[in-house]
Symmetry: C2
Amino acid sequence: MKTYKIIVEYDGTDYYGFQRQKKHPSIQSELEKALSFVLNEPIRIVSSGRTDSGVHARGHVVSFSTNSDIERKNMLSGLNAALPNDISVKRVIRVGDDFHAQYDAKRKSYRYHVWNSPVPSPLRSRYSYQYTYELDIEKIKKAAKLFVGKHDFRAFAAKSRDKENTVRRIYDVRVSKKGNNISFTLEGDGFLYNMVRNIVGTLLYVGRGKFTEADVKTILRTKTRSLAGPTAPAKGLMLMRVIY
Amino acid sequence: MKTYKIIVEYDGTDYYGFQRQKKHPSIQSELEKALSFVLNEPIRIVSSGRTDSGVHARGHVVSFSTNSDIERKNMLSGLNAALPNDISVKRVIRVGDDFHAQYDAKRKSYRYHVWNSPVPSPLRSRYSYQYTYELDIEKIKKAAKLFVGKHDFRAFAAKSRDKENTVRRIYDVRVSKKGNNISFTLEGDGFLYNMVRNIVGTLLYVGRGKFTEADVKTILRTKTRSLAGPTAPAKGLMLMRVIY
């Protein structure tokens, strides 16, 4: 047996998220289909995590084990020939047999793109969320720093069972603006379901003046989902990389 | 009567080019449909030029005249509400009644994107052409300068009738590389049918070592289409702007 990790890029527009589903196309099922074909044996992958329906990835990581002796180079080209055009494998890396793409992940980095203009941009609409309200970028940048550190992010989780551990550490939140493009880059030790999209939705409310910094502090302290901003749409979100 | 020019952005993937066609969707027919609806009278537009099936635009310019007294701001928002998601109007500008989007155009600028890697990039594939061969970027940059100036570009025109004037002036060709992305930006007083895509196809042959600088000079001098490189695919091409 040999164990590999592979770095995957995909356009999530046409998929019902990463995780395998019975009736809908998923990134996982496409990857397993291609791997099973190229390695000529049934392959089940372990993923660094799930992404939601419509979310994209530049560096999603999955691992799997195989009896195949195929060379890495041939695995790479075989997989890219077998995969649909909206999914590609960027690298194939041999790892120790004890490697686990989910449990060994130390950090993840996500980026969210906002197109801040009353005029839509067809060339950006696939990967960014059009937000028509005027935004105060300095207020957003200041409020973004409130999320850095170890916090209970229960207020920013879509659905969390009471006993679930909703404490996560965010290492950095960077907000940058270039023309009408605003990007939010978040790096953390892990993210709850919808957490990035809920943080972005909340920061957009700060930028519009609907929330103050004090409001964000209250939301974090009271851990109340209903106080936080709306969930920003999936298409603006991209998993950038997973660090081991 | 009032005359306007509008700046249009579009993702050309799903259209059979700019020009109106009987049986296929075109950018022109979508624009005329939206304009006629918003201005409440039949509108025919004059375009700065045509783009091919699959070509995109960041700043295509068209003009039209109307009896409507609608404000520009309302025209802009009305048009963007009426247009499909892959076409938008970025600006509406009042111009003199003698303005003609095609005849008054002084310069046009196009950009072509190449993704130079054996590994496909799903996140870039909509707007760039994957080229798997290794390329010598310095050779490409040098050869690109050969196109600058006033030349007979007959060898780079898809179809040119014998009597057609195929002389054009190119003001600048800029080639830049960032990671695996290579972009070609061409500015000229006008471009023949497929000219940018044929120049790019030829420069890619230079980068691969199939053509030398001397070959490019010969192609320009002999004006022979069959000597030039292949036509690079439409999806990598974008009309950036039209200058009046």
